[in-house]
């Protein structure tokens, strides 16, 4: 219990958490069968990588890592807007969101 009261968190734990979140995002990307949820898994992966960036920015006392995260957030916002518009267009054309049924390009 003494261990819990210490106030330092090793930075490697943040990195491990980031790796775990990224892997969960990959698993979601593989197993989810709904277009929107697949897209959410991509957002989860982006967030995991952001956590790594912030951790290393803290490690090196460099502010540029945080600025990179800021840019990633902006690009993620743009990506979400365009991606969701594409999802709406796909839904309008195919009337489904299941990725197994959106397979027109498959042989």
């Amino acid at each position: 219990m003494n261990f819990l009261l210490q106030s330092q968190v090793p930075l490697s734990w943040f990195l491990v958490l980031s790796a775990a979140l990224f892997v969960l995002g990959v698993v979601g990307f593989l197993i989810k069968r709904n277009l929107i949820t697949v897209f959410m898994s991509i957002e989860l992966m982006l967030n995991a990588v952001n956590l790594s960036f912030v951790t290393f920015a803290t490690q090196w006392h460099a502010v540029k890592g945080q600025i990179f995260v800021f840019f990633v957030m902006m690009v993620a916002a743009a990506e979400a807007a365009v991606g969701l518009a594409i999802i709406i267009a796909v839904f309008r054309a195919r009337a489904t969101l299941a990725v197994d049924r959106i397979d027109l390009m498959k042989l």
Binding site: L11, W13, V23, N47, V54, A78
Partner: protein, 180 residues
């Protein structure tokens, strides 16, 4: 204190991510993703990134997830039907994912020279960030605004009912999977 906060929100974060995978309804997945993103904001605060914590809540949990929730409601997305995925995903994907996690974890836990986040972690204020952002990185910042503008135009052009796209001819062959 920092350690307790970290463990609390790391567990919350992982629970949200696992819940995202387990839920079958997209709106439940969206809500668990909000939990993940908000707990990440707390972790950013622990790391001394106060501006990013605020931006995480505003941009991710606020703007992006509201967009997701809107689309889920707009498309009336029903429960997803569980298929087991392709064989490649099962035989190669999951072992690979487990191996990646194991390798990353062992490597990261053995890295020498990583510091720790604690009460004396220097806080990088918004002022520090904006000083660099508006002096050295002014051009990328302005280019980002152009990117956002293009994204807005693209989203509107893609999502509106264009007169150009015809309704697909083979519409009758598709089973409607929309949950009513």
């Amino acid at each position: 204190m920092h350690l307790i906060v970290f463990i609390l929100f790391a567990v919350l974060c992982l629970a949200g991510a696992v819940n995202l995978l387990l839920q079958t309804h997209p709106i439940n997945s969206a809500l668990s993703l909000i939990v993940v993103m908000t707990s990440l904001a707390v972790l950013y605060l622990l790391l001394g990134a106060e501006f990013l914590a605020a931006a995480q809540v505003i941009v991710y949990s606020g703007a992006i997830m509201v967009l997701f929730t809107f689309v889920v409601m707009l498309l009336n997305a029903g429960r997803e039907e569980r298929t087991l995925g392709s064989k490649a995903a099962k035989r190669i994907g999951f072992p690979a994912v487990v191996v990646i996690l194991a390798v990353l974890t062992t490597l990261l836990l053995h890295v020498e020279g990583l510091g720790a986040a604690g009460p004396n972690t220097p806080i990088s204020t918004t002022e520090d960030l904006s000083t660099v952002l508006f002096t050295n990185l002014l051009l990328p910042f302005e280019v980002t605004s152009v990117l956002i503008l293009i994204a807005i135009l693209g989203a509107v052009a893609l999502a509106r009912k264009g007169h150009g796209d015809q309704p697909p001819a083979d519409n009758s062959t598709q089973e409607g999977t929309v949950a009513k």
